[in-house]
Amino acid sequence: MTLNERLTNVAVLGAAGKMGSGIALLLANEMTLQKLLPENRGKRYELNLIDINPQMLEGLLRYLKTQAVKMAEKNIVGLRELYRERGDLVENQEIIQQFIDDLNVSLRPSADLNSAGNARMVFEAIVENADVKVGVLKKLNELCAKDTLFFTNTSSIPIGYLNENAGLKGRIIGYHFYNPPAVQKLVELISPEGVLPELKETGLELGKRLRKIIIPANDKAGFIGNGHFMRDGLHAISQLDVLQKEASHIQSIYIMNRISQDFLIRPMGIFQLIDYVGVDVFQSILKTMQPYFPDENLHSKLIDRMVEKKVLGGQNPDGSQKDGFFKYEKNRPVAVYDPEKSAYVSFEEGDWKLKADQWIGNPPTSWVAWKNLLRDPQKDAKLSAYFSSLNSEKSFGARLAMSYLARSKEIGQKLVAEGVAHSADDVNGVLLNGFYHLYGPVNNFV
């Protein structure tokens, strides 16, 4: 069965969630583009949007409408071609409106798993819990045709485990979108042992259609993205103990966040990133990964404590950042959580932040902000010059940053050595495209 045939009936599980809604948007858009091609006239297209939470399905439809309009606005050049024969549609606005109408009629929101019965492709983006995933996939294996293909968005659970326990016989592949799926270019493609060649090909072809960068990873828990992120986060947490000999807890959090963002010229500091992903999600990924890496300690007492105190981060339905390690105003950190006091301490309160800044010093003068380098054609040369000056800098901040950089590189190299990634380029590709880093962890800066 070709990808185009499969695209006539698709199901997204966990469609109202953060990842599911983005995946649903991409599929809704692609299916509607297919539907409009002359050769597909008269064919029925169904996108089954399934979520156990029926209340959230309404929000999903609203999200899809708003976002699909934005996508259509960007794709207007192609859409005018697709509607060329429609003499009644003259203005861009009329064409976009028609596209949205055509997209909407294919949407089938439902809280019932049975509605995935006729799907030829199933995208699974439910809770990151192996047992729950296995349970749902087992049911679908009974419900769906025997040639239905399954794409799981798990970011850490080995696909082989899901395949075996749900009895899918090679009809499942890891298809790991990054958050938010509609924006992030990266999809990690994780092929478990015994995966059907057709499934792999379909996944690659779909990736091209969705204009994604597909990076293959091997089926080892955490894959490349979380394989790096979890260990990177744990490194920052381990540094807190060192810092706390001279600094307070909130100062240490603030310092490591600033080191990882400013000094390393990353889009976000490490604790901000953990908040973005969700402190509880971070914890659950660690738990998933730990059994597969018995020689490593993939655990953090601090993370456990934050989760116990229900300081979880994550995002509100409108995409704004919830409070976690930091308290946020307009998505910018304004205060740090102090677990002793169970309260946030403002950046403005007292002089703790000033002292922390004085202690680490400033990055060298060759420093350029991440957002200014993003589209700079001289980016590589500027980064190289910056890190070379950082390396010769004696300040405490510079030394912390260089050791951070070294650890990040070590993690990247280990992912290759242990066969998680096929190459250092793949590791770098994931960090560049999935995390918006300006340089890969495996670099010559350190």
């Binding site: 005018r80 861009n92 054609p377």
Partner: protein
């Protein structure tokens, strides 16, 4: 066109800030001033430079598409809202797409020439950030032959029209020199805008502007031969200037030293339903310029400072050729050699032009007149170019649609 039957002067010019993406104070989701605000600010800006607003005999307002961008018609009636002294004065609105401003100045000059007014307040305005560019493209397509061309036209209707011109120039003169000159033009526009606090690109801090200007076009999301930097942006803004007779200047409490004299004008309008015969020439612009040369008895060698209508970078190249500053096909070299620079042989668009200052479509022609008035009277501040005594004349070329409605003026500093 006939010779000037008596001297007509322009004076008391004023430009508002030109707002749109690129300005730090611009945010698409934040509220912004409406069209009435711009008209009033520009009008007051002019009136504050004269002794007595009661002495203004008439008003004219240039605007392209307020009916769609702002759902507002009857713009002439916004003129009396500027100042009570203007209540019940004769006012009218003129429209010629992006050439509206030039037609407005023409209308004001004509009233003075005809003797029905001694002084006319001319305002040009457009407020376009009311809709996203993708929807504004349809409104702007009204500057073309909508009934005949919109349906089969490109999503980005006008960029595509000028992309076709760029493509034709690439084919005729070679892509490399033309493409390079277009990027150089972008670089020059932004560099000039950085001297102009009211320009849309005033806050632009891009390092290598030429490299940005060379960004390869992406026809999947835009057009074949132009990148977005080749295009003027979506702008909100207004300008005002006063046209007056010698008598009028006196009544306004001004002297010729405060004014420029209109020494030539040329208006040419082509059939909107007819596609351009030659994509590599601006035939209507050429006609209008030639008329202005005839009226003034001047030629390209007399022009010391130029304002041309660079709605797209390629248009700048073609306008330089159409105005006779170089032969056809030689504009690329002219630009590459720096002749149009701020301190070059023929300083052009010294305040940034449509690409750098911004392009509030129906207001642009008035803005060009204001800027040349400032240049010739030494009021251009950081944007002031040197006016050489051998070349004391300034020219503006204002174009509506795809070289359809063109207004050209030649000014010199008024003689005492």
């Amino acid at each position: 066109m006939k010779q000037m039957s008596k001297p007509v002067y322009l004076t008391a010019g004023y430009n508002t800030l030109f707002l749109g993406s690129g300005r730090n104070e611009f945010h698409p989701k934040k509220p912004r001033p409406g069209i009435g605000h711009y008209i009033t600010e520009a009008g007051k800006g002019a009136l504050e430079q004269i002794k007595d607003p009661q002495q203004i005999d008439e008003g004219v307002i240039s605007n392209f598409m307020a009916a769609r961008f702002n759902r507002q018609g009857n713009l002439a009636a916004f003129i009396p809202a500027i100042h009570p002294a203007l209540l019940y004065k004769p006012c009218s609105r003129v429209e010629g797409a992006c050439g509206s401003g030039g037609l407005g100045v023409f209308s004001a000059v004509k009233s003075v020439l005809s003797g029905t007014a001694d002084s006319v307040l001319a305002i040009g305005v457009e407020v376009q950030n009311s809709v996203k560019a993708v929807y504004g493209a349809d409104f702007l397509a009204g500057a073309g032959y909508y009934e005949g061309e919109r349906k089969n036209g490109h999503a980005h209707f006008f960029p595509d029209k000028f992309s076709a011109r760029a493509g034709a120039c690439f084919a005729k003169y070679g892509q490399e020199p033309v493409r390079t000159a277009m990027a150089r033009w972008y670089e020059q526009a932004i560099m000039n805008a950085r001297r102009n606090p009211k320009a849309q690109e005033y806050h632009n801090t891009t390092g290598d502007l030429f490299a940005v200007g060379m960004t390869p076009p992406n026809p999947r999301v835009f057009v074949e031969h132009l990148n977005v930097f080749d295009c003027s942006k979506v702008t909100d803004g207004a300008s005002a200037v006063i046209a007056a007779s010698a008598e009028g200047l006196k009544k306004l409490g001004l002297t010729p030293a405060d004014a420029v004299e209109v020494v030539g004008y040329g208006i040419a309008v082509d059939d909107i339903t007819r596609p351009p015969e030659d994509q590599t020439r601006l035939a209507t612009t050429q006609k209008a310029v030639q008329k202005a040369y005839r009226v003034s008895g001047l030629g390209p060698d007399d022009i010391g400072v130029l304002e041309l209508h660079d709605c797209f970078t390629i248009t700048a190249l073609l306008a330089i050729e159409a105005a006779g500053f170089v032969k056809e096909g030689e504009a690329s070299a002219f630009i590459a050699e720096g002749n149009s620079h701020f301190d070059g042989l023929l300083p052009t668009n010294a305040t940034g032009g449509l690409i750098g200052f911004g392009h509030p479509t129906g207001g642009t022609g008035v803005r060009q007149a204001v800027d040349l008035w400032q240049q010739l009277t030494g009021k251009a501040g950081d944007c002031q170019v040197a006016i050489k005594s051998a070349k004391p004349y300034a020219m503006m070329i204002n174009m509506g649609g795809n070289d359809k409605t063109v207004a050209v003026f030649i000014f010199r500093r008024a003689q005492a």
